[in-house]
């Protein structure tokens, strides 16, 4: 029988990210730098929300449930891991993706385009040279994100070949659990609203150029 596995915010963020990443890529290559910047700010909102949700969200959304040491990873590789949510190995990929996106958004926020026509909202915190370098790095760093996406998809295919379907639970939020595993404990609906309000508030503050509070 299928039981709760991923909560709704986790799934929404999961699918919004590739959509926004694709849109960011498309818009910047088609002279829509303004849309590109808004897309990045939407990603920033998702990242802030996800960070907070990782402390108060459902059991499988929490950092504490999947950020583990190397021993957990070796245990998992030896088949001695029981649980639901991100596996100790998959968690490494999640953390890498999260950090890579934080770096990418951070670089974008202080960047300016080659002509000085468009700027990230925090460009004034750094010098012109730093802004220009940040833009070049921002472009290079996209390859790191692409690499992680390829790895992610390769892992899904690998598990699929071994008979484990990972995509469907990320859509429906439900999965058949392995024996002995506890189903997901949901987060509070009002905690979702607080995280969302904070994420939007912080993003708006960044858009305003991060003025002193």
């Amino acid at each position: 029988m299928e039981q709760p596995f991923w909560d709704l915010p986790v799934r929404l963020i999961h699918w919004l990210l590739p959509a926004l990443i694709a849109f960011s890529w498309w818009s910047v290559h088609n002279h829509h730098i303004d849309w590109h910047i808004w897309s990045g700010l939407a990603i920033l909102t998702l990242l802030v929300f996800r960070l907070l949700w990782g402390f108060v969200g459902s059991s499988t959304a929490r950092w504490s449930s999947f950020v583990r040491g190397p021993r957990a990873v070796t245990d998992y590789l030896r088949g001695r891991w029981i649980g639901i949510g991100h596996t100790p190995l998959g968690a490494l990929s999640v953390i890498a993706m999260f950090v890579a996106l934080v770096v990418q958004v951070g670089l974008g926020l202080i960047s300016e385009d080659e002509d000085g026509l468009y700027t990230g909202p925090l460009y004034r915190l750094v010098s012109i040279d730093t802004s220009d370098n940040a833009r070049d790095l921002h472009e290079l760093w996209f390859n790191v994100i692409l690499g992680l996406i390829v790895l992610h998809i390769a892992a899904i295919i690998f598990y699929r070949l071994r008979g484990k379907k990972l995509t469907k639970p990320m859509i429906t939020g439900r999965a058949v659990l392995s024996p002995g595993a506890q189903p997901m404990r949901p987060g509070k609906w009002w905690a979702t609203l607080i995280c969302l309000a904070l994420a939007i508030g912080i993003t708006r503050w960044v858009i305003a150029g991060a003025p002193p509070l």
């Binding site: 002509d115 026509l117 004034r124 012109i128």
Partner: protein, 157 residues
């Protein structure tokens, strides 16, 4: 009368730009033009970024705005000689697209719009009215974008 000066300068510019893309150069001359173009465009970009920071600061430093505006107007004037035929991507690495020489009239019109906007912005900066200067600066940026969207590729160096 700055308006008259701008008008006269614009006419002179139009006369020059009309021939810009029809002259052909080659060899060391082409390399020299492409180098000057690259350095010139980079300097315009740099001045534009300096101005952006000034205007966004809320209290722009007038001398800084005037210097950068004059620099852009000066380089814009010289840009008429930056696009002779024979300086495209088939000759050497450049961000200039071949379309420049395929639609010379449209390109000349866009270059001329940029040059005019640079003069108008320079006049506004010289007047010391920073609100007017900021508005003309935005107009100038529009002429950069109009041309770059169509005639420049992303170039890495």
């Amino acid at each position: 009368m700055p308006i008259v000066r701008i008008a006269l300068a614009s006419i002179a510019l139009l006369a020059v730009t009309a021939t810009a893309a029809t002259v052909r150069v080659s060899g060391p001359k082409a390399a020299q033009v492409m180098h000057e173009r690259h350095e010139g465009m980079e300097a315009i970009g740099k001045a534009f970024k300096v101005l952006r920071r000034e205007f966004d600061s809320g209290s722009p430093a007038v001398p800084m705005v005037r210097t950068s505006a004059a620099q852009i107007a000066n380089l814009a004037k010289r840009s008429s000689g930056w696009y002779p035929a024979g300086t495209g991507p088939d000759v050497a690495k450049t961000g200039a697209k071949p379309e420049i020489w395929q639609s010379p009239q449209d390109f000349a019109a866009k270059l001329s719009a940029f040059q005019k906007a640079s003069l108008i912005f320079n006049a506004a900066a010289a007047s010391g009215d920073m609100n007017a200067a900021k508005a003309r600066y935005a107009d100038l940026g529009g002429t950069c974008k109009a041309c770059h969207d169509k005639y420049r590729t992303e170039m890495h160096h």
